[in-house]
C-alpha cells in the first residue's frame, strides 16, 4: 500500500546536532497514525518535518524527502505556505488567537487564501468546522467573544476547527490532549474518529492508551542514547505494534519498562 505521505530517509538537525535520522515510513490516507515514544526522542521534530514548520527555526537542516500526494514537499518549486495549507497542524498547547473573536479564529486561514469568498459561504464553513470539532453547541451563541475567553479544552477544539476550516488533506496533531482534562480529551478523541473518514491524521501522543484507542497505525520512535538522534524503531498496524511487536525495544516500551 502506497503511503499518502511517504518519508524517505528523513532527518533533521538543529545547529548541527542531529535530532532525528533515517526515518522512512508510509502514512496511509484516511487513517489515523499515532507516533509514540519517550519524551525527547524526536516525535515533535518528525511531525513538524511533515509540513515544513521547521524552516522557521534558524539553524535547522532537513535531509531526505517527504512525499505528499506524489510531490516532495521540500522540492524547490513547492511553496511552504501551500504545504501548510494542505497539511494543517494542531499544537500541544492550545494557541487560538486570544484577542480575535471565535468566528474570526476559525476563518483566519480562509481570509488568508487568495480569492474572495462570500460572507455566507464563510459563515457556513465556520459552522461546519465548529461542528466537526464538537464545539458548535458550546459557542454558537457567543461567536463574537474572543478566542482567549474559552476554557483550555474549548480552545484546543477551536484550534482544531481553525485547522479544519482551510480544508487540508492532512492534520498533524502534536500531543493535542496533553494539557486537557479527561472530558475534553474524550471529545477530541471522538472528533478524531469522525475526521478520519475525510482526513489523514497523524497524532503524536505520550499516552499509549490513547494511541491504542484512536489509531490504525502506530510508529514507535526512540533515541537509543541521550545524544543519539531519534529513529523510527517500528512502524505498522496498531494492533500488531501493541500485541506482537517485532522489536524488543517496542515491546519494552509498550510494557512499560522505560519511558
Amino acid at each position: 500500500m502506497a503511503g499518502y505521505i511517504t518519508t524517505n530517509n528523513l532527518g533533521a538537525s538543529f545547529g548541527g546536532v542531529q535530532a532525528i535520522e533515517n526515518i522512512t515510513v508510509e502514512i496511509p490516507a484516511n487513517k489515523v497514525t499515532a507516533i509514540i515514544g519517550p519524551s525527547g526522542c524526536g516525535k515533535s521534530t518528525f511531525l513538524r518535518c511533515l509540513n515544513r514548520m521547521h524552516e522557521l527555526v534558524p539553524g535547522t537542516k532537513i535531509s531526505g524527502e517527504v512525499i505528499w500526494d506524489g510531490r516532495n514537499i521540500y522540492a524547490s518549486e513547492m511553496d511552504a505556505t501551500e504545504v501548510r495549507r494542505g497539511i494543517g497542524m494542531v499544537f500541544q498547547k492550545p494557541n487560538p488567537f486570544p484577542l480575535m473573536s471565535i468566528e474570526d479564529n476559525v476563518s483566519a486561514g480562509l481570509r488568508l487564501a487568495a480569492g474572495r469568498m462570500s460572507k455566507a459561504r464563510i459563515a457556513e464553513i465556520i459552522e461546519h468546522s465548529l461542528k466537526l470539532a464538537a464545539l458548535w453547541d458550546e459557542v454558537k451563541n457567543k461567536l463574537g467573544r474572543p478566542g482567549g475567553s474559552l476554557s483550555g479544552g474549548q480552545q484546543q477544539r477551536l484550534c482544531i476547527a481553525r485547522a479544519l476550516a482551510v480544508q487540508p488533506d492532512v492534520i498533524l496533531m502534536d500531543e493535542p490532549c496533553s494539557a486537557l482534562d479527561p472530558a475534553s480529551t474524550q471529545k477530541i478523541e471522538d472528533t478524531i474518529d469522525k475526521l478520519k473518514k475525510d482526513y489523514t491524521i497523524v497524532i503524536v501522543t505520550h499516552n499509549m492508551q490513547q494511541a491504542a484507542r484512536v489509531s490504525d497505525f502506530t510508529g514507535f520512535m526512540l533515541a537509543r542514547e541521550m545524544s543519539d538522534p531519534g529513529r523510527m524503531i517500528e512502524y505498522g498496524p496498531t494492533n500488531k505494534i501493541f500485541t506482537m511487536p517485532d522489536r524488543k525495544e517496542t515491546e519494552n516500551y509498550i510494557t512499560g519498562r522505560f519511558g
Binding site: N95, L112, S149, C159
Partner: protein
C-alpha cells in the same frame, strides 16, 4: 501634617496588604520601614506634581485673569502693549509633534518588525544598538545638523519636489524656506524614533512562538504572520511607545528652537517658519523678569503641561481599552 501622612499611609498600606502581620518583630519592622519608604517615594511624586501645577497657576494668574480664553485663540503677541495670545505657539507645538509622529511611527514600526521578526540573529544586537544610539545624541547636535545639513537639503530638494508633485494640497504649497515647521518635524521624527522603535521591538519580540506558529500553520506568509499574530498582541505596548515619543516631541526645546524658524504666524504651509511653546519660552524667558509678559510665558508652560497630560490621558484610555480586553482574555485558563 506628619501625623496625618503616617495615618493615611497606614490605612492605604494595610488596605493594600503591604503591612505584614504575624512575622517576627524585627522582620515586621523591616517590612514596615520598607513599605513606608516606597510609599513616601510614590507620594513625593504626587506632591511634586501638585506643587508644580500650583506654582504655574499662581504665577500665570495675572495673564489668565486678563486674557481668559482669548489667550488660547488669539494670535497677537505684543510685549510693548502687553497683549498676549498663544495660538501660533500651540499650533506649532501640536502640528510639529503630530507631523513627527506621522513620519516616525511607520519608520519605527518598520524597524521594530524587521529587528524583532526578520533580521538574522547576528544583525539584531548591533543594528538595535545603532538605533538606540540615536537617542543618545544631544538635541543641540540635532539642531546644528538640522541647520547645516537637513534644512538646506529640505529647502533645495525635498520641499520643491513636494510642491511640484503635491502642490494641490495646501500644506505643500508656498515658498520653500528650509528652516520651518517641516524641518523641525523631521528632526523631531528622528529624535523620537529610537524611543518608539525600541519599545515596539521589545513587545513584538515578546510575542510567543506559539502564536506565530498558529498563523504559519494556517499557511500565512511571514508578513501575514506579523499582521495576524504579532501586531494585535503588541498593540497596547506600541501605543504606549507612541505616547512616550509624543511626549518627547511636545516638550523638545533646543532642536525645535533652532529649526522651526521662530516666527509667530499661523500658516497652512508646513514649509513656512513657525513657533512652538517650548521655543518661545526658551527664547523670551531670559529677557523678562516680571509683569504680564512673564505671566503669559508661564501660562504657556501651563498649557504645554496640560497638552502633554491630555494627550497622555487620551492615549492611555486607548491602551486601556485594548489592554483590558487583552487582560480579560489572559485571565482565563
Amino acid at each position: 501634617m506628619k501625623g496625618s501622612l503616617i495615618s493615611s499611609f497606614k490605612s492605604i498600606a494595610s488596605g493594600m496588604g503591604i503591612l505584614s502581620r504575624g512575622a517576627n518583630p524585627l522582620r515586621r519592622l523591616g517590612d514596615s520601614v520598607f513599605a513606608f519608604v516606597v510609599f513616601l517615594a510614590a507620594f513625593a511624586v504626587i506632591i511634586l506634581m501638585a506643587l508644580m501645577v500650583y506654582e504655574l497657576v499662581r504665577q500665570s494668574l495675572p495673564s489668565i485673569e486678563q486674557f481668559g480664553v482669548r489667550f488660547l485663540i488669539s494670535r497677537e503677541w505684543d510685549p510693548i502693549n502687553n497683549v498676549y495670545g498663544a495660538l501660533p505657539y500651540i499650533y506649532g507645538t501640536i502640528v510639529s509633534s503630530l507631523l513627527a509622529l506621522l513620519m516616525s511611527v511607520p519608520l519605527s514600526l518598520g524597524i521594530a518588525i524587521f529587528l524583532s521578526q526578520f533580521a538574522p540573529r547576528w544583525l539584531r544586537a548591533p543594528l538595535g544598538m545603532l538605533v538606540d544610539l540615536l537617542a543618545a545624541i544631544p538635541s543641540v547636535v540635532y539642531g546644528l545638523w538640522g541647520i547645516f545639513v537637513l534644512a538646506p537639503f529640505l529647502g533645495k530638494t525635498v520641499e520643491p519636489f513636494l510642491a511640484d508633485h503635491l502642490g494641490g494640497i495646501p500644506v505643500f504649497r508656498g515658498p520653500a524656506y528650509g528652516i520651518g515647521l517641516f524641518a523641525a518635524s523631521v528632526v523631531l521624527a528622528i529624535m523620537i524614533t529610537p524611543t518608539i522603535s525600541a519599545i515596539s521591538r521589545e513587545v513584538m519580540a515578546n510575542v510567543s512562538r506559539d502564536q506565530k506558529e498558529a498563523a504559519q500553520a494556517l499557511g500565512a506568509t511571514p508578513w501575514e504572520t506579523v499582521r495576524m499574530s504579532v501586531l494585535p498582541l503588541a498593540r497596547p505596548g506600541i501605543i504606549g511607545a507612541v505616547i512616550l515619543g509624543l511626549g518627547r516631541a511636545l516638550g523638545e526645546t533646543m532642536a525645535v528652537t533652532m529649526l522651526i524658524g521662530n516666527v509667530r504666524q499661523l500658516n497652512v504651509s508646513i514649509f513656512a517658519p513657525a513657533y512652538s511653546i517650548a521655543s518661545v519660552i526658551a527664547n523670551e524667558f531670559a529677557e523678562v523678569t516680571e509683569g504680564p509678559h512673564m505671566a503669559a510665558l508661564i501660562e504657556m508652560a501651563l498649557i504645554l503641561l496640560f497638552i502633554t497630560l491630555l494627550l497622555n490621558l487620551l492615549a492611555r484610555l486607548l491602551v486601556q481599552r485594548t489592554g483590558s480586553r487583552a487582560a480579560r482574555v489572559k485571565g482565563r485558563p
